[in-house]
Symmetry: C2
Subunit: 213 residues, 2 copies
Amino acid sequence: MRVSELVARTGVPLATVKYYLREGLLMPGEATSATQAKYGEEHVQRLGLVKALAGAGLPIPRIREILRLVDHPDGSLFEVLGQAIAQLPPYLDTPAADDAADEFPRARAVLDRLGQVYDPGYVAVGQLERALAALEEAGIPMTDERLDAYGRHVRGIAEIDIGLMPTASAEDAIRYAVLGTAVYEPVIAAMRRLAHQDVAQKRLRNPEEQDQQ
Amino acid sequence: MRVSELVARTGVPLATVKYYLREGLLMPGEATSATQAKYGEEHVQRLGLVKALAGAGLPIPRIREILRLVDHPDGSLFEVLGQAIAQLPPYLDTPAADDAADEFPRARAVLDRLGQVYDPGYVAVGQLERALAALEEAGIPMTDERLDAYGRHVRGIAEIDIGLMPTASAEDAIRYAVLGTAVYEPVIAAMRRLAHQDVAQKRLRNPEEQDQQ
DNA sequence: CACATTGGATAGTTTCAGTATCCAGTCGAG
DNA sequence: CTCGACTGGATACTGAAACTATCCAATGTG
């Protein structure tokens, strides 16, 4: 298909398609002449993915990096996933901690409490630390009770994620992990917001069953 | 305390404090003269909250609206919470659906499947729809299996959230609900990312216990 | 009294994410 | 063949957002 059709199918304006092409977010079509190129389904899908990531508020350079990792994963699943997660908010100013000493005290306390295995150099540790610090600074409490419950359920979600991960090829696994992390998060957030309403409504109706799971 | 101390305690640059003051994100201090004002703990905390929200990528007008709702909630818990959630991404272009007819097909299918009570006019329904549509456009699958599991665990998280909600005053409840939705989300996201690593590691070690919870 | 600090106003900067314009080569209907 | 529409490619422009910097006159302080 030509550009005009790509534009029609995705709803992305031509100027923006050209912009993404320039920025390297969309691979160029197969040139058939100096002023013509052929685009395929992969371009439609890629544009959808870029839209999803951009819609989540990711800056272009971060999207480019994620796409690069998906297209050319260089390293183990963990390495690539770590690099990809570093492109997701919350962004850390300090990219790496030299020694794992007293870095991330809050996050480490939480993870130790939950008995979780973790690599202290993993980006998400810093991200958790930052989220917890933000909580603290804003004067919002994080009790052990809440923490344990979150830990339990989040782990359940992670089990599903890992359980459904394709194991055939490493590339598939990486692609799945990188995109799954970024793209399922808004779904989970929206579901939580809706569950709040559901739980609150049902409790109002049957206030006696106020057991906290 | 004076501005300089507020700056020192929060780490927010003076120019930025003034900017937040201008934008109405920070309440003015108690003026003691034409060139002096007194700030208190509430200012420190507010600045922390603004930092947390801004750090999550929320635009200033949205933060202002959230703060307004927290400070002067006008309406029921559900109404206020709905308004607050509308300030959180993913942002919807179409603010309201006139009739609840075929609006949000994906989200409704999911919620019906989970047997959840929901108000079709609730913002989060549209947000879920959008997140699911983004998934689809990007060619990423959302199976029923994953959905059911997510639903179960997200519900568990919501039970905790609601269970720990203060019930003494309506204002407290609103404040808790609004901030809890916005501020705990990054924590949950970070925990999920870390749980992925933990689950994957442990599975590699004991591949036999691959039960998906 | 001198000097740093402050509130308040205004202007400037940077980054980001597109849009718009131009151009020259090419395709395709008549 | 021809003429107008469509393309790829390059460059310039725009508008919003979030700070950041500068100035000023009033004030508090040692």
